[in-house]
Amino acid sequence: MLINTGVPTREQIELRLPSPERRARGPYAMVECFQEIPCNPCSTSCPFDAILPMGDINEIPAIDLDRCTGCGICAGVCPGLAIFIIDESKGDGTASVTIPYEFRPLPEKGEMVRAVNREGDVIGDAVVTRVLLSKKTKTPLVTVRVADEHVHEVRFFNLIDNKTVCDKTSSKIEEEPKTDDTACATDDDEIILCRCEGITLRTIRDLIREGYTTVDEIKRISRAGMGPCQARTCGPLIASEIARMTGQPVAEIQPSAHRAPVKPMPIEFFLGGDSE
């Protein structure tokens, strides 16, 4: 599922694909936005009114592919970088994908790159055929030519010569779980709840067990929250620990008072006042 993986399903993509005739006719925008979010620049930016006006700003963009020329303006403005321009009209076994690419260095026209799919996996090679810069959007649009059968898969590219945006090795962690049993035991003594005073989760838990069940009581006995950050960092953690251990809703746990000054200021600073 998209909301679990961040990658749209094959079905979601296939439902968006234009008719074979339209695909053969020329470039078109592939809008890979599948979630109702409050956003509409694609529709308001299209000079051909191909992306239909939204009654409600949360609507999923709908596109009239008869009007779409594949100009790419929407791809440059989409805040989600979710619009790609596909051109399958060449008929030579290759097709091109235009990708909004906000990384450095930029590839050069003619450069060979690794074609990458929506999951970040390299699935083949690609050639950069155009790099379009925009002062206005600052989102370069990079067109790459790939094998026909990959055009609906390729959504990114890695530069060759170790100039990849991200080393893909990290994604292997999911496939290679390894157990390090020395690192498993959770130790409350090593968990710092109040950084200013150096108060550990163990101390807080012990106090809650002893019956100190308000943020103020814990603060008074342990000093947690009395330090220079004024409980900004630890306050919510202590409240949720109380809630967890006592079963009270967090909403009912009174935070400790918020006192001036909001940030520590030297005594001499206040001498400028004249108590009027």
């Binding site: 260095p105 600052k138 370069p140 950084r195 200013c196 005073e197 150096g198 220079p228 960092t233 520590p264």
Partner: protein, 106 residues
């Protein structure tokens, strides 16, 4: 550790500000105009800004905007300086702080 400075960014332009010389625990270091003390230290690969006065655990900044007080250091002899928001100035003598500090004149 000069590679921590971003020179080529797709969206932002970072001016090559004037070089500012300062020392950290006696070692000469370079920062840039516009740096805070903590950002300059970070650019030099320094993450440990001090040690907690009670637990002696190493301290580094957490929020970088003056909220969390984890970045206190001794600057020009003055303790408890919030280095994540204090601007870096030429010739500053910056030192790790491992105690609660004392007022200037004491």
């Amino acid at each position: 550790m000069g590679d921590r400075r971003i020179t080529d960014h797709p969206i932002l332009d970072f001016d090559e500000g004037e070089v500012i010389h300062f020392t950290f625990d006696g070692k000469p270091m370079e920062g840039r105009e516009g740096d805070t003390i903590a950002s300059a230290l970070h650019a030099n690969g320094v993450k440990v800004l001090g040690y907690h006065f009670k637990t002696k655990r190493p301290r580094g900044f957490y929020c970088a905007i003056g909220n969390c007080s984890a970045c206190l250091m001794i600057v020009n002899g003055k303790s408890n300086v919030r280095t994540c928001t204090a601007p870096l100035l030429p010739g500053m003598v910056v030192e790790t702080q491992s105690d609660r500090g004392v007022p200037d004149d004491v």
